[in-house]
Symmetry: C2
Subunit: 192 residues, 2 copies
């Protein structure tokens, strides 16, 4: 997605060969107009799919997902990583391992909102090692829901996430694919 | 706001005399079309204000804020309650006390995104004791930013938050105001 790539080049900061900082438009400050374009792009990519609901993860997944939900006219459910005042019963959970923190975290979704009738579009901001996305796919399985695919804003193609998801037979659509963050520079993967 | 009140009556669940559960459209599952209407309502209420940016708090504040940001054509910044991979430098923080958990939590915003040039609209999903909103006002002060007001989706008018904010001379606009949750029933405050 052109405007997203330009935003990454102009505003992204390469923190290391592993991490790109995009706090100015995606992870801390949000550009609503860009989110709307991102939502519409996901809606177009998955237009043929009869998606019934979007599933994402708090917090950075929420803005792109809500815009995609607006474009597809479907509800959005965000999995929680920590306890909430009202998310207490009927939970579907998955364990998500963090390579950086070397610890496992539990994510949770209410079974009231994802059922076997659903055909889900899973959306997240970054795809790196893929553990969060795999956790959401696990939750979809527990609910008996089918999955139209996984929509990602920024994929780090030099990490394993996309491969792990594709190997499960799930379609992955990334709006920007980064081949390398070496030497402080963003290199996008060649268009397929 | 009419459609919001109807949604609360039809889908809200009164958990106690203190807590209303609206997980089906605001706090876990999100209704994007309703969020868009909410965003447009905030934009109209604060149209005269020359708002430069919206400030909110993860996670439930994000969806209403992003839609308001779209309607006002301004960026949205969400304060974080917990550490994040890239939110590490130049932080403005505030302590937020939780009456329920009886503990204090630190919220953080990067000073890169809120400055003395900003005229902020603060938005959140619920207004109860007001500690989170007061924390965001504290951060606005530290940055030297002026505040157009606080926009709230659901205010529990029987708690002190609105009064505490108004006493600071800050305008509060709540799209739904609940006078009581006694006896399992939602009673809205009379229109002023
Ligand atoms: N900015 C940035 N973030 C990255 C990058 N690679 C991974 N992340 C994010 O880092 C966060 C932490 O990942 P971990 O769960 O610790 O996983 P990992 O070490 O196995 O990658 C996740 O944020 P999250 O769950 O999305 O958190 P939140 O922002 O929603 O709160 C993930 O999306 C990157 O290159 N740049
Ligand atoms: N559903 C619901 N939530 C309420 C109600 N009253 C307060 N809350 C929410 O409860 C959460 C916890 O509040 P605390 O920080 O423990 O504060 P408190 O005990 O002093 O009220 C906050 O969620 P938060 O910060 O918004 O969390 P998140 O949803 O953004 O993760 C607040 O918005 C209510 O009647 N119904």
């Amino acid at each position: 997605m052109r405007s997203l790539q330009e935003k990454i080049i102009n505003e992204g900061r390469v923190l290391s060969s592993q991490v790109l900082k995009v706090d100015s438009f995606l992870n801390h400050q949000i550009d609503p107009q860009l989110m709307k374009e991102i939502g519409e792009e996901f809606a177009q990519l998955f237009a043929g799919e009869k998606v019934t609901k979007i599933l994402t993860l708090e917090s950075s997944g929420i803005a792109p997902s809500v815009m995609a939900g607006l474009a597809l006219n479907v509800p959005v459910v965000f999995a929680r990583k920590r306890q909430s005042l009202t998310l207490t019963e009927n939970l579907l959970t998955a364990e998500v391992y963090s390579f950086t923190k070397k610890e496992t975290n539990r994510i949770a979704v209410s079974a009231s909102f994802i059922t076997g009738e659903d055909h889900l579009l899973i959306i997240d901001d970054f795809l790196a090692n893929g553990q969060a996305a795999l956790g959401l796919l696990d939750i979809a399985d527990q609910a008996g829901a089918s999955v139209a695919g996984v929509g990602i804003v920024i994929e780090k193609a030099f990490q394993d996430g996309a491969r792990l998801i594709s190997e499960r037979g799930v379609r992955v659509e990334s709006l920007a694919r980064i081949q390398s963050l070496e030497n402080g520079k963003v290199t996008f993967a060649a268009k397929e």
